[in-house]
Symmetry: C2
Subunit: 234 residues, 2 copies
């Protein structure tokens, strides 16, 4: 089973109210990637947020307005260092500046996380199914830092149409021994894989993954949020 | 730039002392994947550890011996819950049971992490260059849990021939604004992507990535280890 990951070029700069599903379907067609059964579409949240109007103007002192906005978007602030906060968002994600980001935002603005990224993924999936006749699972991504490891990786913040976590309990390894690794965060691995062709600077906000045999289903990125009480790593 | 990820089937069960480079070169050839310039080889550490003899017998009460071994492999124990420890290894990795694992290990044994996985990656790369005439970067992976997020993902624990962290400082986004996201853990994204075709149960311990334009260089997985003092997330 060979997997291929195709960047989806040709999306215009997204504005609030744009029909992102239609723009993506069009971009896929023009790239010769008219979706096939089994394909998975990965979209950076930046374009989803912009289409949904989850964008804020930074009035007055932009730096100060940006820091205020990040604090407003935080449900809990875990750490501060200088201007940076590590915060829990309303979705339960732990990330820098509560997901508020100025890169690839119009001057004087910052992009927020979508209000409900799982719902956004679901809406995009329904729109694509309507427009293309193919049911394509959708993963919406953001770029997060991690504890203990340097560098950032893309993770799934919205999922529709596939299991976010692959439950391998009861599966046997090649020696017939029950696997100890029981839960694979496949949606996060999909997000990381797609980032390899999207890049941060290339302006490619979507990728199509073809040939991945993973479990379809009604998983959500919310499944990837570990309730604070059950976190062994903290 | 389309990227493809090919599972590398046909490796035998690896024994201590096996010439893993030769076995991989042979498996690549038989799979029609004779490496091309630009390819990247991803190998789960399990086969590297086995070839290097980083395998321990579990004498007597296997469960007790396994737990003792995990404690011995830990430089620092961060958390305990029941039989599970979250530990820092000598390499600086934070992971369950200090990386000691019984899945895909022969009965009565456990597989340890390679002593120096960056060095292992480098040796494999040199062996493959000698055997195939192509300089193929190598990434050695393991499966780690994370803080705050459920499910496990594959990460890079050994790297040779590419930058483990892509430093984007000074790069501009599509609007010409300097990127705030400055360090992408590209080796971890490569590890996660490769896991999508290897799986935990499939017994496929290697994958070839073709078409990835990433910076070649002398990066190491050690670059991915964040010194405890500079960790904003803790």
């Amino acid at each position: 089973m060979t997997l291929s990951i195709h960047p989806v070029p040709g999306l215009p700069e997204i504005q609030p109210g744009n029909d992102l599903g239609a723009l993506l379907a069009d971009a896929l067609t023009r790239a010769g990637l008219g979706p096939e059964p089994g394909d998975i579409l990965v979209v950076t949240h930046k374009v989803v947020s912009k289409a949904e109007g989850a964008v804020a103007r930074l009035e007055g002192d932009e730096e100060a307005a940006y820091r205020r906005l990040a604090r407003e978007q935080a449900v809990e602030i875990l750490r501060r260092r200088g201007d940076l906060i590590i915060a829990r968002t309303r979705h339960g994600f732990i990330c820098a500046n509560a997901g508020v980001d100025r890169s690839n935002a119009a001057p004087g603005t910052a992009v927020l996380l979508p209000l409900d990224p799982d719902r956004s993924a679901h809406s995009l999936r329904l729109a694509l199914r309507h427009l293309t006749g193919v049911d394509v699972p959708v993963v919406i991504t953001d770029t997060f830092g991690r504890a203990w490891r340097r560098g950032l990786v893309d993770v799934a913040i919205g999922v529709s149409g596939l299991e976010a976590i692959l439950d391998l309990r009861g599966t046997k390894d090649a020696q017939g021994r029950e696997l100890k690794v029981t839960e694979v965060a496949v949606a996060d691995e999909i997000a990381a894989a797609a980032d390899l062709v999207m890049g941060k600077a290339a302006g490619i906000p979507a990728a199509l993954i073809r040939g991945l045999e993973t479990r379809r289903g009604e998983g959500r990125a919310a499944d990837l949020v570990r309730p604070p009480g059950e976190d062994m790593f903290l």
